[in-house]
């Protein structure tokens, strides 16, 4: 079943006098629970389409449908609400909040997503997810004391703790060595399959493609078929 549709999306950036069309009509549909990998040369527009899909920037033209609702028609706050409760993000760097412990990062996300859980239940959720990403022994650590791989695992935990329907990942393994990368991808695959989360992921790395259900190749702002 299709849960997410990108329909004829274009994006034009204006640099001074010059208009640059970075996306030239992108069509992608994502099926529920599947992992779709976006590949393509650097500069082909992968990050741009991913962030448009994730509601972090607007398309110049075209539609982005999430569960049948057109996000391009929504106002900032409606999109924010969807981001908070239905979407999860993982980026190249982990973007953890520097003054929160691992545990607090996750509690904050539960709070922001307005998941209606009692304190005790939140605690249970946090413990469960930290076990899944194998970080339960570092729950009181601050980001500054974590290694790159550990940070990324916390970021993944944060991206899924509120049980989003969609996970958007932009080169989540780019900062990791190949062993760590495989671990992280295995983790993402396991978690999204267990929780039935639909994933759109940009990757550079050929090895990571084995974890995807579909592969979409982009070139110069277009999807290659």
């Amino acid at each position: 079943m299709t849960i997410f549709t990108i329909d004829e999306v274009t994006k034009t950036f204006t640099n001074g006098e010059v208009d640059e069309q970075v996306l030239k009509g992108i069509n992608i549909s994502l099926r529920e629970g599947e992992i779709t990998a976006l590949v393509g040369a650097s500069g082909s527009g992968k990050s741009t389409i991913l962030t448009i899909a994730a509601g972090l920037q607007r398309a110049t033209d075209g539609k982005v449908l999430f569960e049948g609702k057109n996000m391009t028609d929504m106002n900032q706050d409606q999109i924010r609400k969807i981001r908070a409760s239905e979407f999860g993000f993982v980026f190249q760097s982990s973007h953890l909040v520097p003054f929160l412990t691992v545990e607090e990062q996750l509690l904050l996300m539960l709070d922001v997503s307005e998941t209606k859980l009692k304190k005790r239940e939140q605690q249970v959720e946090v413990e469960k997810i930290l076990k899944l990403v194998d970080m339960d022994h570092r729950k009181d650590a601050y980001p500054a004391s974590l290694s790159g791989g550990e940070k990324q695992r916390v970021a993944i935990a944060r991206a899924i703790i509120h049980k989003p329907k969609m996970l958007f990942a932009d080169e989540p393994t780019a900062s990791l060595d190949s062993k760590r990368s495989k671990d992280v991808m295995t983790l993402i695959r396991e978690l999204t399959k267990t929780l039935n989360i639909t994933t759109l992921m940009v990757t550079h790395d050929e090895d990571m493609l084995t974890y995807a259900d579909h592969i979409i190749t982009m070139k110069d702002g277009l999807v290659l078929t």
Binding site: L56, R80, A84, F91, S93, H95, V97, F99, V112, S113
Partner: protein, 344 residues
């Protein structure tokens, strides 16, 4: 979850520095305003501590009480109509104590009234500060314009005029010293303006104070310093909060990307600003009142809780505006920017 508090806890040094700035600036402002008030008290406590009312002097006096001579018949009429009214005169002068040491004082004399001390002929009531200079009750004081002697009958607190202690003397003695028959002023307590006598010009207590040249000049400079300090601290606050916010742009972007409401980010900033400011101001109020206790005796320093609380409220408002203005950039933060900029 209270992220504002979590940040303060994790970044104590940063917030302590910010708090110390607010503390120092407000402390300085309180001390200066204590001095301003102290000086004003030293300069004119005699007038300042009177109940609200009206002063009258001759229209011809050009708003200078020394030049005012109120006609005796006018004085009688006004005093008859207004039963609490008093006619009075003030002149700067000297007295010599028993060791022939000269003391600069302000002679004040008045008709019988609740507002001023009444003294018998040959008697004098002095401001308490002269007691500290060694004069005692029963001492005999002299003045070279005066044929008789003054016997010190007692002391009163906080009666100063033009930075000199006041000496209340009997009207007969006053008339002899200064060779005048008329009084300079009439004071009528009460908020209502008494029926206008055409030859007299009326002044509220405050207006009257401002006719004393030394008083208005002194207060103007001190008030100017205070308001400059307030304005400068306002800018300081704004700049500090601005720098803090600029440092946190990345963080705000990430939080926004996660779906945190902009209003919550503002709430976070306000919480931190109010927390820091209230503690700093509290400390500063306490210490400035503490300073009043240990200030050297001769130092004119007078700080009321009213003043510090009012100034604190001004500081809070300024801090709030500064933080909010500098926080307007939170609204503009694009989550995407933060994500593309990498680690915060």
């Amino acid at each position: 979850m209270n992220i504002a508090w979590k940040e303060i806890k994790k970044n104590k040094a940063k917030f302590i520095i910010l708090g110390s700035i607010i503390f120092l600036v407000s402390f300085l402002t309180f001390i200066i305003s204590g001095l301003a008030n102290g000086l004003s008290q030293d300069n004119a406590a005699l007038i300042k501590d009177l109940p609200d009312g009206q002063f009258y002097m001759n229209v011809d006096a050009n708003e200078t009480y020394n030049l005012s001579r109120i006609d005796e018949s006018v004085q009688t009429t006004v005093l008859n109509e207004q039963k609490d009214a008093a006619a009075l005169s003030i002149q700067m002068g000297f007295v010599n104590d028993m060791e022939d040491k000269q003391h600069s004082i302000a002679f004040v004399t008045s008709t019988d009234s609740k507002s001023f001390e009444s003294v018998g002929k040959g008697e004098v009531i002095l401001d308490r500060s002269l007691e500290e200079e060694g004069i005692k009750v029963g001492d005999i004081l002299t003045n070279n314009q005066f044929s008789g002697e003054f016997k010190v009958k007692g002391f009163v607190d906080q009666k100063k005029y033009s930075h000199a202690p006041v000496a209340f003397i009997n009207m007969e003695n006053y008339k002899e010293i200064y060779r005048v028959n008329e009084m300079q002023l009439i004071f009528v307590p009460g908020t209502e303006k008494a029926q206008v006598v055409t030859s007299l010009q009326s002044f509220s207590n405050k207006e009257f104070l401002n006719t004393i040249p030394s008083y208005s000049a002194e207060q103007m400079s001190l008030n100017m310093i205070i308001w400059f300090l307030v304005a400068i601290s306002g800018m300081l606050f704004a700049i500090f909060f601005y720098m803090m916010n600029v440092q946190k742009i990345g963080l705000y972007g990430i939080l926004k990307a996660l779906g945190v409401k902009t209003s919550r980010l503002f709430g976070m900033m306000w919480y931190q600003m109010i927390f820091i400011t209230v503690i700093a101001l509290g400390l500063s109020v306490a210490l400035s009142h503490g300073f009043a206790l240990i200030a050297p005796k001769g130092m004119p320093f007078s700080l009321t809780l009213d003043t510090t609380v009012q100034l604190s409220i001004v500081f809070l408002i300024i801090g709030f505006i500064g933080a909010t203005l500098s926080g307007l950039q939170i609204k503009k933060v694009e989550p995407l920017q933060a994500i593309q900029q990498g680690e915060v």
